[in-house]
């Protein structure tokens, strides 16, 4: 069960992630997009999911029982190769429905001082 003291807290990574053209090309290739000049709209998940899991690994959430319920992106500008993205994650809401924990985590990806993408993941921890 999530530690209730963590709701509303923001955790910021200590290391940024450098986006390579190769990582964009690899992601785009899976959906059949050749030679994109910027990352596809959902590319941010390849950074935010891993980063938010690291940031929240001691939160009490049982990651082995997590199911992805919902996802939202706000893209201020597309991610491009060369971006150096720092992730900060906030547990916005937490509720328990029929024993399942439903947690909404917001992750902001900044490149320098610019906010590039905000993503919200709703995760369901199955009872």
């Amino acid at each position: 069960m999530l530690d209730p003291d963590l709701i509303g807290r923001t955790f910021t990574g200590d290391k940024s992630v450098k986006v390579s053209q190769e990582s964009i090309t690899k992601f785009a290739a899976v959906i059949g997009e050749p030679n994109l000049d910027c990352a596809p709209p959902t590319f941010a998940i390849s950074i935010s999911l891993d980063q938010s899991q690291k940031l929240l690994q001691d939160s009490g959430l049982d990651w082995t029982r997590v199911v992805h319920g919902e996802q939202k992106f706000e893209i201020l500008r597309p991610i491009v190769a060369g971006d150096d993205l720092l992730c900060s994650s906030t547990i916005e809401t937490h509720r328990v429905v029929a024993g399942n924990e439903i947690v909404s985590v917001r992750s902001d990806l900044h490149s320098g001082s610019d906010l590039v993408v905000s993503t919200w993941s709703t995760l369901v921890v199955r009872a």
Binding site: I31, L36, P40, G69, Q71, I75, W120
Partner: protein, 132 residues
């Protein structure tokens, strides 16, 4: 492409198979075995290997991007309401279609429908694109 309010956008079909799930796992970093390992998937009560919800969403995102060009998507959200079951040796067809819900200030809000056969797999799927 010129969009009009209420317009129904032509459906497009995308194939999902086991090889693509492995490729998506490697590209996204999501190596959860329920998306690759049939015996593991069955051991946790699933019918078979299921696609990453985010892979389905990535394909719907491609549909959205193609309406106004790469880099045009400003917002995109969806619920994962039913799993996309991917048996071995099969190409599962995901059919994505859209409808123009709002047109304002150079932005279009699009409602997306993503179906596998008769099963709706994404719920409340919507995107906002910047029209060029």
């Amino acid at each position: 492409m010129t969009l009009t309010l209420g317009q129904e956008l032509a459906p497009k079909s995308y194939s999902i198979n086991r090889a693509l799930l492995k490729q998506y796992a490697d590209a996204s970093g999501d190596q959860n075995p329920i998306h690759q390992d049939e015996s593991f998937a069955k051991s946790v009560g699933l019918a078979d290997v299921i696609a990453h919800g985010m892979f389905t969403m990535a394909l719907a995102g491609k549909y959205l991007s193609e309406l106004a060009g790469s880099g045009s998507v400003k917002e995109f959200s969806a619920k994962f309401i039913k799993p996309v079951v991917v048996p071995a040796g099969v190409d599962v067809e995901l059919v994505v279609s859209g409808k123009v819900l709002e047109l304002e200030g150079g932005l279009a809000k699009i409602e997306l429908t993503a179906m596998c056969g008769q099963v709706k797999v994404l719920g409340m799927a919507k995107g906002v694109i910047k029209l060029s």
